[in-house]
Symmetry: C2
Subunit: 327 residues, 2 copies
């Protein structure tokens, strides 16, 4: 295979990268040198996407590049942080030029769309996987953690749920047209960075829906020491989901399917209207789906047999764990 | 296998981590929140170490944890940066408790020794590999890049060379005693962070010797637009290297073997004494091995057949590329 240096030289050099804001020295030295803004917290997270565990190895390479960055940026969104920089660790066997070009295009296009500068990377040989470290900034008092939910507050989500699981189901049935909205939701998720910024000062707690609504809500409730009642009928279902899966499976997908990358937040009931107004300006729905309660546990919905759906897994990867926890 | 959450809960939770300086929020939320110091550049790099490519899969797990962090910290050292924080992306199949405990101990001990706080991570199933993102700080004017070498300056290295390649050779002969200085050099390299700090204001360019002296010197020369003359007799050979490999192979290991993680710097000749004085205080030798010249190329040594030795590779991993480029 081509050496790391050849690969990087072709697709990830300064020549192919837009100059990044706050980048004093980019790709090509022992480290990148960045200029964080004074008075901001640096928000950092890493997520690794593995072929045939987190995404189908046969997915379009442009989507693989986009998706690997998107799932990491989603963690910045859930923190209310502004995306600034990223690093990529790529493992790949026998790469070919067209694949790499498309992969790089998907990655670079999402960098450009979100104002994220790729400032370093690493390539090793191995089963296809993409680890992306993201760095963003947020004023200390504006950061949205999982810990702030209080009894009596509303629970709400951006956009719609179940699209990730619905798209995965379509992929497994052989659908390959990325114009299908469900498949696009699964393979090209949109990190809700603008929503995270808009919810600063309104949300008391936030998380992104990567493992499934119930699992991720559970993380917030445990961190905050509270419980919740959900309204099953209120869940906003992704476009085309009922048609693709049927009513029951669609609702299960919304409750327990992962890969949606919407934001799940808690906020005082009297701030919901303002949040809805701000998100409408960003073209996103904002739906109240329940209430924070003092008693631990989740009520109001029938819990599915397993919390957190199976993500994509090949027949030989049945023991694949879910690695979306970030942290 | 145990889920990511189980693994992290056992070995990488706040309870097992020392509180880190500048960490507003550590492991356990969507992102960590860090407090960079005003007026400093943030130096960032990522390196992935793959089993049977960059280290033997059968190496002691404590050494694997140490080594994966050390090779990333070495990039901060080469930048003259102070180590502050790291993130770890671990891929592993069928981990067992004793292995994980020892791996975590090796990683955590080097964190503690270098003042580096582990602030996030990610675990996936797969062939053993450890990706470590490091973040450090350096005043803008103090950063040591590869670009500043000027004709007439001295070329010098910290410590001794060839130990990494010598240790690898011993491992391949069946040596397993980590008390052997060469094997310790290979499996438990020491990032030269103190040397990097000491060389601030003295060195005009710097890089760490990961790919081999000639290859890494080549990176500096190309970035700086200069050439060099080396004095083969001046190369400081690692303790025990001649005894282990013989005179000729020892010298080849020093020239082209990788995995040494010493710092290779250029500096004005009249600063060498001061640099030597500072490094002696840190217990390190500092040896002038040549001179920067205006004409591109490297003179004074017989170039080995291949620049950059074979790193560890199993019989089935012969096409393994080297991924130590960082950037």
């Amino acid at each position: 295979m081509a050496s790391e240096f050849d690969l990087i030289a072709r697709y990830f050099t300064p020549d192919t990268l837009a100059p990044g804001a706050g980048v004093a020295l980019g790709v090509g030295d022992d480290c990148a040198l960045l200029a964080p803004r004074a008075g901001q917290r640096l928000a950092v997270s890493v997520d690794t996407s593995v072929a045939d565990v987190h995404f189908p190895a046969q997915a379009p390479p442009e989507a693989i590049g986009h998706r690997a960055l998107a799932v990491s940026l989603s963690d910045l969104a859930a923190m209310g942080a502004e995306a600034r920089w990223c690093l990529m660790a790529l493992a790949i066997d026998d790469p070919d030029e067209p694949w790499l070009a498309a992969f790089a295009r998907g990655f670079h296009d999402l960098c450009a769309a979100t104002g994220t500068a790729l400032v370093g990377g690493d390539v090793t040989s191995g089963r296809l996987s993409v680890g992306v470290t993201v760095m963003g900034e947020v004023p200390p008092e504006a950061a949205l953690t999982r810990r702030g939910a209080r009894a009596g507050e509303a629970i709400a989500v951006t956009g719609a749920l179940g699209g990730g699981a619905g798209g995965l189901a379509l992929w497994q049935r052989g659908e390959r047209d990325l114009a299908d909205p469900l498949l696009a939701r699964y393979l090209r998720p949109q990190p809700r960075l603008a929503a995270g910024l808009a919810l600063r000062g309104l949300a008391s707690a936030a998380i992104d829906v990567s493992d499934g609504l119930l699992a991720d809500l559970g993380h917030v409730l445990v961190a905050s020491g509270v419980g919740a009642r959900l309204e099953a009928e209120a869940l906003p279902l992704a476009e085309g989901l009922v048609a693709a899966l049927g009513e029951d499976a669609a609702r299960q997908a919304a409750l327990a399917g992962g890969d949606d990358y919407e934001l799940l937040v808690t906020l005082p009931a009297d701030r919901v209207a303002e949040a809805r107004r701000r998100l409408a300006a960003a073209g996103l729905a904002f739906t109240v789906i329940g209430e924070v309660q003092g008693t631990p546990g989740i009520r109001g919905v029938d819990c599915p047999a397993s919390l957190g759906w199976q993500h994509f897994a090949s027949p030989t990867a049945g023991d694949a764990d879910d690695s979306r926890g970030g942290a």
